[in-house]
């Protein structure tokens, strides 16, 4: 079998293994959607009344932010599962097989994309129930979803490196929360970034989470065209910035995680 084909084949076998787990442990999907649903309800009905987003219904504004946050949490499964596999010796088994070294990671991240597709479906239904609407064409909306999932895919590879570095699932969880909370909250996800203090505003405007959220909002038609977008370049060109960020992240973290996989297993 030629190299690339073998990598794909091995990745497929591993992805299948990971998806069987999603099927056998439905709690996983429930757990991954329950907390974002809570966030939706909390922000839509508790905080929402006090948050004023000029020109847009807050619930419509909110959903793209929740989507972005949910996708990021979904992507953490990559690192979590790799840490578990390391701990249980499953990675040792894979490493002793004549399979491609990248196969485990490709299979893992692909399965997590599938998982995120399930999650975003559940979240979209939740959004529709609380009053979120898509006000653009089918293709634009589709582009919005694709962008969100692509973004999560890139995050998956970052999580892979973290998971393989920390090796202990519990430690991974804590490490990741420390990373994710500032990223998802110091952004335009739940409130517009305009009112933030200068330093935080700069962070929020260049935060890729803001860009993907802004891009999704625009593609779903959840922005008011009459309202000015912040002048920061990433928010003026959110689709382009998100795509650039995805490409750069993959270019850095795919080779890094393959290297870390070899090192982590060899201990």
């Amino acid at each position: 079998m030629s190299g690339a084909l073998q990598v794909m084949g091995d990745g497929f076998v591993i992805a299948k293994r990971n998806l069987i787990k999603v099927k056998r442990v439905p709690d996983l999907l429930v757990a991954s959607t329950l907390s974002p649903i809570m966030f939706v309800l909390l922000f839509a009905y508790v905080f929402g009344g006090s948050i004023d987003v000029p020109g847009v219904n807050y619930r419509e504004f909110l959903i793209a932010g929740i989507f972005a946050q949910t996708m990021i949490f979904g992507a953490t499964i990559t690192g979590m599962s790799l840490a578990e596999d390391l701990q249980k010796g499953v990675i040792d088994r894979f490493r002793s097989l004549p399979m491609s070294q990248a196969g485990v990671l490709i299979g893992r991240t692909s399965a997590d994309v599938m998982f995120n597709l399930l999650v975003i479906t559940v979240m979209s239904v939740t959004g529709l129930i609380v009053g979120w609407r898509i006000r653009t064409s089918f293709l634009e909306a589709l582009a919005g979803f694709v962008l969100l999932v692509l973004f999560a895919y890139a995050i998956s590879w970052v999580m892979a490196v973290v998971g393989l570095l920390v090796r202990v699932p519990e430690v991974f969880n804590n490490a990741v929360f420390i990373m994710i909370f500032p990223l998802t909250f110091i952004a335009n996800t739940f409130v517009p970034s305009d009112n933030l203090p200068t330093v935080l505003r700069a962070f929020a405007e260049w935060n890729p989470v803001s860009a993907v959220t802004q891009a999704a909002r625009e593609l779903f038609g959840n922005t008011n065209p009459l309202q000015p977008v912040p002048e920061a370049w990433p928010l003026q060109n959110p689709v382009l910035y998100t795509l650039l960020w995805v490409v750069v992240t993959l270019a850095v973290f795919v080779p890094l995680s393959v290297a870390q996989y070899r090192r982590a297993a060899a201990r």
Partner: protein
């Protein structure tokens, strides 16, 4: 050689397993058993040294070694959520056997290892013994030329252990080359053609089970007395009947004497009885026993094997900062 920080896990270890034979690597926790297996199965690169498996250089061509080996680890590395069949099918696909062959082989092995009834149940529902058998099956999927078994029965209850031994004896009879690590002397005795005893990453003895026992000497006469006061009389009665001086185990009131092998053991036993009777020693038990590998171990390492402690990967996980 392999060092973890200041711990030298392997130190000039030299092993050879003739094709079609079974070598047991015997040693206490932290002796370097698991590290040796990890080096030989391409999971770990040694700091220095050389290794060949099935005639292939492990360091230069790890991918070619992986095609020819099967590894069954210390804790069962099978996926909890997959069924037994799915686990084996997956491993077969990753050995690139092809879809059809992988499936057939999975079914076949489930039969061989007596897991047919549980084949389509998630592994989560398996007992410890069943998981171990499935893990072994996974190692056998590609009919490896060399099989590595790292403590295949550690943590199993006695019944599952005997079951596992039966399976392994069958494999051994088929002529698979096996490297087996164990802390159980009985296991090495039962399964291996030759035994290497290692401690602190070094080989301290090797040979067949009989050769190792011969190193410790011949039979041993053991006497258990009724009263602590009688221990000194027993010692003086037995002194001179074998080689060296009698060994006393105070808390069990046991006195043992290694025989030199120049006279038949039965003859020595009769004389021992006569002398003990002459000293009016009240005996609870007297016996001649063959030396066990435990005696070998004690003689060679100065400490008893410790089968009841945690497996040594736990210790390995705690060693930080490995040097290269």
């Amino acid at each position: 050689m392999k060092t973890y920080g200041k711990v030298r896990a392997l130190d000039g270890l030299d092993l050879a397993v003739p094709r079609g034979s079974v070598l047991a690597v015997l040693g206490p926790n932290g002796a370097g058993k698991t590290t040796s297996v990890r080096v030989l199965t391409t999971l770990l690169r040694p700091d220095s040294g050389r290794a060949e498996v099935a005639g292939i250089d492990v360091l230069r061509h790890p991918e070619r070694v992986r095609e020819r080996i099967g590894l069954s680890g210390q804790y069962a590395a099978v996926d909890e959520h997959l069924t037994g069949f799915e686990n084996l099918d997956m491993v077969g696909r990753l050995y690139h056997l092809g879809r059809r062959v992988a499936r057939e082989r999975a079914r076949e092995l489930l039969g061989v290892l007596d897991l047919e009834d549980a084949a389509d149940r998630p592994v989560r529902t398996y007992s410890g013994g069943m998981r171990r058998r499935l893990d072994l099956a996974a190692a056998l999927v590609a009919r490896p030329q060399v099989l590595f078994l790292d403590e295949p029965t550690t943590g199993l209850d006695p019944r599952s252990r005997v079951g596992m031994w039966q399976v392994l004896s069958g494999l051994v009879a088929e002529g698979t080359t096996v490297l087996l690590t164990t802390q159980y002397l009985e296991e090495a005795d039962r399964l291996a053609h030759s035994i290497v005893v290692i401690d602190h990453g070094k080989v301290i003895a090797q040979g067949t089970s009989d050769e190792l026992k011969a190193k410790v000497g011949g039979d041993v006469v053991e006497v258990v007395v009724a009263d602590h006061d009688q221990v000194p009389y027993t010692v003086s009665a037995l002194d001179g009947l074998g080689q060296g001086t009698p060994v006393v185990e105070e808390h069990t009131r046991k006195v043992s004497m290694a025989l030199s092998g120049t006279r038949p053991a039965a003859e020595v036993l009769v004389e021992a009885l006569r002398r003990l009777d002459g000293e009016a020693v009240r005996m609870l038990d007297i016996a001649v026993r063959r030396p066990t590998l435990d005696d070998v171990f004690l003689t060679l390492t100065g400490h008893v094997s410790e089968p009841d402690q945690e497996p040594d990967t736990v210790a390995a996980g705690g060693r930080k900062g490995r040097g290269r």
